[in-house]
Symmetry: C2
Subunit: 347 residues, 2 copies
Amino acid sequence: MPATIRDVAKASGVHVSTVSRTFSSPHLVNQETRNRVLAVAENLGYRPNRAARALITGRTHNIGLIVADIANPFFPPLIKAAESQARDRDYHVFVADTNEDSVTEEKLVQALAKQVDGVLLCSPRMSNDLIERVGRDVPVVVVNRLVESIPAVVMDVAQGARTAIEHLAGLGHSDLALLGGPRGSWTNREIRRSVIATARAVGVNLTVLGPNQPTEIAGAAAVDAICRSNATGILAYNDLMAIGVLEGLHNRGIRVPEEISVVGVDDIALSRLVRPKLTTVATPTAAAGRTAVDMLLAQRGEDRRTTAQVTLHTELVVRDSTGPGPRATGVPASGTARGQVASYAKE
Amino acid sequence: MPATIRDVAKASGVHVSTVSRTFSSPHLVNQETRNRVLAVAENLGYRPNRAARALITGRTHNIGLIVADIANPFFPPLIKAAESQARDRDYHVFVADTNEDSVTEEKLVQALAKQVDGVLLCSPRMSNDLIERVGRDVPVVVVNRLVESIPAVVMDVAQGARTAIEHLAGLGHSDLALLGGPRGSWTNREIRRSVIATARAVGVNLTVLGPNQPTEIAGAAAVDAICRSNATGILAYNDLMAIGVLEGLHNRGIRVPEEISVVGVDDIALSRLVRPKLTTVATPTAAAGRTAVDMLLAQRGEDRRTTAQVTLHTELVVRDSTGPGPRATGVPASGTARGQVASYAKE
DNA sequence: TACGGAACTGCAAAGGTTTGCAGTGAACTA
DNA sequence: TAGTTCACTGCAAACCTTTGCAGTTCCGTA
């Protein structure tokens, strides 16, 4: 029913190959002919059949975008940016959700691999081995993780976490807690590493909690442990958890930032909408999406294995959930020795 | 490079057609043969080439999902549910974002139409005409809108809005305001219609404001007008706007719900996280996504034009942003006559 | 005038799969 | 025993496009 290249050829009195060239290599066909063909095509509502094109060229002009959870507010801005960038380059995007499950993720990527020109793995939970194996079948770019020999775009959360800790210490907090994220998360490891090092360097006590699910529920549930730790400054793995902490503290009648300061990571839209507005380490999610798409599409040429690994800068955004600590207000700090890591949840 | 059906045929000593049947109509091939073929295929890592399959069957096993704004928190749960449902039925989903722009939307749907088996239009901004035209080229299901002769799934926001107004009136609010959404939105029209009728029926004054962008910014910006209206009960087009109103009122030192009650629509995840927690009309977004996919896939058969239009129930979720109105607390109501619609922004 | 080249265009094979039709042998029926 | 049916498999055309190669025309140059 829909018009094919043959219909256009017949109606405009040229061979199909000329029609084909009109669309895929316009410079090879006479201007006059081209115009005639285009007019006829327009008239017939002809659109090149991407399946047929893919069959012979081997390129589908589709990419796959795999995320852990579409409904996690961290991802939509990334998806949006990636899709927009891809469309600008005449690519369509399959979006798929793994439900934070590594097995689903694996199946998904296998199913998708053969019918796309590349796959974007965002915060993958699969093993490095598996990712590398997939990378041999199809161009892959991972986001928020570093895997040897695979192109990646990551956020400099280590630097962001350091700035956050320094911010809290600078406000006079000498007892801090890190609310860890999910096991298997590269970002979580980075943050923890950086936070422990920074806490030592600036001489504050640190309690490390976790691993936890990266959700608001888990954040609220962690408030008990936070209170036991005597910490007055909290850095959470992400904003969702930080908001959960805010919630939990509020229910307990503990005021933020007067009694406890809270910092998140990501700067999701939500963090500006809760009360108090959340101080957080902003990660450039949209830029990550765009960059990842560009890196993926750059793998086309024969120069496959570029394996660039791009790190994007983060920035501490100070809002209303952090304030002066007990030291600054004259309340004595807790008794533990300076610079001590009180507990360390091994991953 | 990747294994084809021919490789599998050769390696297992059967004709390609047998291999083909092994995958697409297993019941037609002998169990023994089938097992052998499957083993060989597994071994060679063979996956049917969807492009080739699409070329001959005319069915891509892909669907397109077009939304106004991926980053609008209303959509991700819908996308997630739709994608999951589609994948269960062996379909992949292209997700695309129109940036709330009807021209982009039109181009997008045209580009996608030829390479998918169906298109899901979520909260479309295009004209009815155009949607109907697209519906002739490719199976279409619209969400959150009714278009003649096009299958649709909508939420019963009229009923939800009515319940919300009754809730406010029941709390003793006699001066209400409706904060309208974007022009071109079917949902907005429904809500307005229902709110005006209900306000008349229960005998409260109503100020209608709008149209507005469906954003938190617009909600905050509308607070001036809300205050001028003397309304003590507000229904916003969606939660995002309602949260903006909360924000704006807070900045002005007006307490919610003590002085003004606010109700939203949608029950996005966020509405449970702001303070006060938002009273809102919950719409079954995930169910809408699943239903829409099923309706789309049901259009396969020759029984094309089913044109079912499904309405999903909504429910008022009472949280902390609504409380007793001035009448209940002894403060006299404003002077305007009961049941009067003070202003009506024509769309 | 003859020749080389440029600018176009046509020809036909190829890409991986599905599917109607026909063929084969075996089991069943009369 | 002969004919019929059944279960399975092979054959080959078809789906729509791209692209290397070859052909044609025309222009410029020697």
